[in-house]
């Protein structure tokens, strides 16, 4: 099933064959990514409908959030419910930098720096959650992450210096579509790289069987630390982008409902899948906007409907649409064709040896 078409494909073999033929054209992925960037730039410069643009920005931000939570919940098999807490740290760090620290006129130029610093600060907080994960897992770790979320939220509420419960108003609108798109691509690319590396396989092995993975020389603590730090970093990036898109943040934005939203996106799209993260975040964000239209005055019903979605997902499709499956273009060729390439190499070697023997 996984064999790509090497010989000429018959055009009349039906959809399966044409799909395989399409999948064999792996060079299309960078082209599509580049086209996406050009499109985002065009929409931005062409002052496309602001509401649609904002929705697209939210999709990008949500993809970053989803893929970063997926790393911990999907790939590593833990259950973190504190992702909104990380997002809050990133959002506040970013917002404080751009409203209080940077000189106003330099702000747009320093925006990438703002985002990176926000990510790094959040990554430090990732360490705080990673350390308890050495000792606890499953439900207990979920409670630790929940506690983390509450601590962050109430800490922000009680620090008057950063606005307390009133939050930070008047943040510059620096998150435009091209920037959001670029950060989304970076988040997806880095996460994918991480997953298809030695450490990433360690992450997967922890999900499958932590004791066995320890006994197979995986340094589980190092792996957990890296996964939590990377996950927190991108949650922080998403938070900073979010703050500069919404232009106003307050502790209330980053409550358990926000965490639940991210969880729904992860489990809707599919755990342990980059493609699933993109799918889940996109479908969810669009659905939310559609609901906003439909519900009209009954907006609060969203808080009933969305958790219901989560419950049904957990019962009927616990792994989500793309659960544990990956879109082939996202898998590095080295891994996707590993056995195939090895076999043809081995055959070539055998042939060479036979030829040498014949001479």
């Amino acid at each position: 099933m996984e064999t790509p078409m090497t010989s000429k494909t018959n055009r009349f073999q039906g959809p399966r064959a044409s799909w395989e033929a399409l999948m064999a054209k792996r060079w299309l992925l960078p082209v599509i990514i580049a086209l996406g960037f050009i499109l985002s730039l065009a929409l931005h410069l062409g002052s496309f409908n602001a509401y649609y643009q904002l929705t697209l920005i939210y999709i990008c931000i949500n993809v970053i959030l989803t893929v970063s939570l997926n790393l911990v919940n999907g790939y590593m098999g833990e259950f973190s419910v504190g992702h909104a807490g990380f997002m809050a740290v990133g959002a506040y760090t970013g917002a404080l930098l751009s409203t209080r620290v940077w000189p106003v006129e330099l702000n747009p130029f320093l925006f990438p720096v703002t985002i990176i610093i926000a990510g790094l600060v959040t990554a430090l907080f990732g360490l705080i959650v990673a350390v308890p994960s050495f000792k606890t897992r499953g439900d207990y770790l979920a409670i630790v992450t929940l506690a983390f979320l509450f601590i962050v939220k109430s800490a922000i509420e009680n620090i008057e210096l950063i606005g307390g419960p009133r939050g930070i108003p008047g943040i510059y609108k620096l998150s435009n579509l091209p920037w959001s798109y670029v950060w989304m691509v970076i988040a997806l690319w880095v996460t994918r790289n991480f997953v298809y590396s030695n450490y990433g396989r360690g992450v997967l092995s922890i999900r499958e069987d932590e004791i066995a993975s320890d006994l197979m020389s995986v340094r589980t603590r190092q792996v957990k630390l890296l996964a939590f730090v990377l996950s927190a970093f991108f949650a922080g990036v998403a938070g900073a982008l979010f703050a500069h898109a919404l232009q106003f943040i307050s502790p209330r934005v980053f409550d358990i409902v926000k965490s639940t939203d991210i969880l729904i996106m992860v489990y809707l799209g599919g755990i342990g899948s980059i493609a699933g993260s993109i799918l889940g975040a996109t479908v969810f964000t669009v659905l939310l906007e559609v609901l906003r239209e439909i519900l009209g005055p009954f907006q609060t019903w969203r808080y009933v409907l969305m958790p219901l979605v989560l419950i049904f997902l957990m019962i009927y499709r616990p792994r989500g649409i793309m659960g544990l499956r990956e879109f082939r273009w996202f898998i590095p060729a080295r891994d996707l064709f590993a056995s195939q390439r090895w076999r043809s190499k081995a055959e070539a070697k055998k042939k060479e040896a036979a030829d040498a023997a014949a001479v």
Partner: protein
């Protein structure tokens, strides 16, 4: 001397699971540990590999103290094991199962991994080639892309051994490798164990219930009962030891 256990004792609460276990293992030996259910055989493996920390006593690998080390360190030092009830990484491919066990042998830093730069490509390709070669040696190369939980039972057992071998062990601990196998399969397994022992220059400790296997390939046996060593010696000596017959063989194990 490769492995030396001195007065190893382990308690679970008030229960003494292993008491005063002593073992001197020479390079290249193949020894068996037998005993009735609950005798503490698997606990000994768990103590050697650091899953449990011995309450008392010392375990040394070539003079290097193992008690108190984390499992992955012990694996790095050259001890690998399989499990009584197969513990593969079920949802992952056969190839990935083996590549994970290469963790300790891969040398690049997280930054290389985040951006796939530097020595990343070279190291990854090396582990793929190494893992595929190992799978090929163990006749598993054809199923390299299969999800490991979908393999037939015998192949899962073999994959577990392959995974253990991928950590480059000097000492291999096999926990009931013949569990659930018929006499025919046990014969094949015997040959297989002898073969990997020579091919990979291994020292092996075997826990087993199947007398056929133990008597057939082990050079030396240790018999445990209720955590205590009740006999040790050559297989034929053990076979006729009245204490052993009483504790184990006498109860109709064959």
């Amino acid at each position: 001397m490769l492995l030396q256990c001195k007065n190893v004792t382990h308690y679970f609460g008030g229960l003494c699971a292993v008491s005063d276990f002593n073992l001197d293992l020479q390079q290249g030996e193949l020894i068996g540990i037998i005993g009735p259910n609950g005798a503490g055989k698997t606990t000994i493996f768990n103590l050697i590999t650091g899953v449990y920390k011995a309450t008392q006593g010392s375990i040394q690998l070539e003079g290097h103290e193992l008690v108190g080390l984390r499992s992955n360190r012990i694996t790095d030092l050259g001890i690998a094991r399989t499990f009584q009830n197969i513990r593969l990484f079920q949802e992952l491919s056969v190839l990935d199962n083996v590549r994970i066990a290469n963790y300790g042998q891969i040398h690049y830093n997280p930054m290389n991994a985040f951006f796939h730069v530097g020595r990343f490509a070279k190291e990854e390709q090396r582990t793929i080639d190494e893992a595929m070669q190992l799978l090929d040696d163990l006749k598993l190369a054809d199923v390299a892309d299969e999800t490991s939980k979908n393999l037939p039972y015998g192949q899962q057992r073999r994959l577990e051994i392959a995974r253990a071998l991928a950590t480059h062990p000097r000492l291999l601990l096999l926990d009931e490798p013949a569990a659930g196998m018929n006499p025919n399969e046990i014969m094949t397994l015997m040959d297989f164990i002898q073969w990997i022992r020579q091919e990979f220059k291994l020292t092996i400790i075997l826990i087993e219930h199947q007398m056929r296997l133990v008597m057939g390939i082990c050079e030396r046996l240790k018999v445990l009962d209720f955590g205590a060593t009740i006999a040790e010696g050559l297989p034929y000596e053990i076979q006729n030891n009245p204490k052993v017959l009483e504790a184990y063989l006498g109860e109709g194990a064959e």
